[in-house]
Amino acid sequence: MDGETHKRSRRWHIAVFLAPAVLVYTAIMILPLFGTLQLALFREVDNEQVFVGLTNFKTLFGDPRWSDSFWNALWNNTWFFIVHMLVQNPVGILLAALLSSPKLRMAAYYRTAIFIPTILSFVIVGFAWKLILSPLWGVAPTLLDAVGLKSLFAPWLGKEEYALTTLSLISVWQFVGIPMMLIYAALLSIPDEIIEAAECDGITGMAQFWRIKLPLILPSIGIISVLTFVGNFNAFDLIYTAQGALAGPNFSTDVLGTFLYRTFFGFQLQLGDPNMGSAIATAMFIIILCGVCIYLFGIQTRLRRYQF
């Protein structure tokens, strides 16, 4: 009897502990997310929302006025992601590998300094690089001149063919600290016995990294890849800051985030369209969900986790 009441009173605690988090999370995150998915299936006709099924998506993928922008943004976004995977993660791994070597002095200073760009906001990063790369100011040409490469200079952010890659590299510059830190942590958590055993077998230096450490940090690389994927397909701030909502020159730096912003809020003469905006958000949702599922079911389960 006593146990019964005790049990019941404990159940109330559970509800009290869970309630604030669940309420805020559900009301501000989950319901709007589904609300947005739902809005994508409606159109406004005479100030009323009318259910139109998948028509918005047909327009988005098929109607040239929309689909050109959409596929352009999707491809740009994919390229943005590819540059991150090819540059940010290898550089991050290299820096982490160097930092984690036990005899290295001043590791703490390097770590602190290299992480600084990551704590800065996109606004600072976007404008700072815009100024530095600006042909008006001439910091970049002066620097290139110092190493005898002045002829290579071009207004990279202003040229259609370079702008997107330049922005991707700026973003890499900003975020390289994250893979560096996570890999660094993973490398530090490898037990000394394993390293000593490898050394006894005569595996040292580069070979040790490739054959012993790299396989052990693969799960961390997997996590970093999926974090990069989600972050990149959700990107907006840097491009908005450096190139404006029109993602110039001539939409060459348009990604899904800026396309969503323009569609939702309107720009120049086009009015904002919440329904089409929702359709784009839904497409982004599906893309991100696919990426996360591929990671969870395709990659993570195959990577063996080592328990130390």
């Binding site: 605690h13 559970i14 502990f17 995150m29 609300g35 700072a128 989600v230 969900l289």
Partner: protein, 279 residues
């Protein structure tokens, strides 16, 4: 002997790479800050030189402080970040305690539900969030931002904190129960102090994206009174784009507080990140 020379060469190479990258990481910040203290002519004539007695000038800062309400923006950012952070830590710890401490039906399902938000960005719900805020009259209030950031921060907070709380010994909590402590007291007096290191990790992960966010201030609270420092400097720089002194000064004003805080707390911050990653 040869291995010793070999390893010396290696360590020089390692330092060379790290120094190069450190220069790449710091150079833009350095250029912006030194030029913000120079007169207009010197900015263009010798952008890479430190300001000297001849070129030193604070005209950019004067314009920025006179034209932009940076103190207000800073205050708004501070309120939003501190309140959201407090709510995330409090609500997150409570939910994490419920999930890790009690067995009840739907426990793992609830955990999964709350973890969804780690991978799915809250931005995708923006259209409906804006409608919700318009309907409740919260547009252009700091409350709207606080609510959104609290929701955004909770999933990761709950995930990390419940992992930590599972490692707290049951004996301690049961001893508390025998002494007649209520569940609330066990949470507040016994569990919370023990997860303090994890709270620091969560605080770091939660704080930086909130402080730096541009999307939600732009959409939910673009009014002059509610601008955050990130949005405020974005708008200010957009307006003063040809006034290089003012732009450089505004950038430096946005960089310096964050930089100072980072340098003070970098040890905890980095320990927090690496601890969180190992977990």
């Amino acid at each position: 002997m040869s291995t010793a020379r070999h390893s010396a060469g290696r360590s020089i190479a390692a330092h060379a790479i790290l120094i190069t990258y450190t220069v790449i990481a710091l150079f833009p910040v350095f250029v912006i800050v030194i030029n913000s203290f120079k007169a207009r002519k010197a900015i263009f004539r010798s952008p890479l030189e430190l300001p000297n007695s001849e070129t030193f000038s604070l005209v950019g800062y004067e314009t920025a402080l006179k034209q932009g309400d940076f103190l207000l923006y800073f205050q708004n950012s501070l309120i939003v970040t501190v309140v959201s952070l407090t709510l995330v830590l409090l609500f997150g710890a409570m939910a994490a305690f419920a999930l890790s401490e009690y067995r009840f039906r739907g426990n793992s399902l609830m955990g999964l539900y709350l973890a969804l938000g780690i991978m799915i960005p809250i931005r995708l719900g923006t259209v409906a969030i804006l409608q919700l805020m318009v309907a409740t009259g919260l547009v252009n209030t700091l409350t709207a931002l606080i609510l959104v950031y609290t929701a955004q921060g909770l999933p990761l907070a709950i995930f990390i904190l419940s992992e930590f709380m599972r490692n707290i010994s049951d004996d301690l909590k049961n001893a508390g129960r025998i002494d007649g402590l209520s569940e609330y007291r066990i949470f507040a007096r016994l569990v919370l102090p023990l997860v303090r290191p994890a709270m620091a990790t969560v605080a770091v992960f939660t704080m930086i994206p909130i402080w730096n966010d541009l999307w939600f201030p732009l959409i939910l609270a673009p009014a002059e009174q509610t601008k955050t420092i990130t949005l405020g400097s974005q708008v200010f720089i957009g307006q003063f784009v040809t006034n290089w002194n003012a732009v450089l000064a505004a950038l430096s004003l946005a960089i310096l507080p964050v930089l100072v805080l980072y340098l003070i707390f970098s040890r905890q911050l980095i320990r927090g990140i690496t601890a969180g990653a190992v977990k």
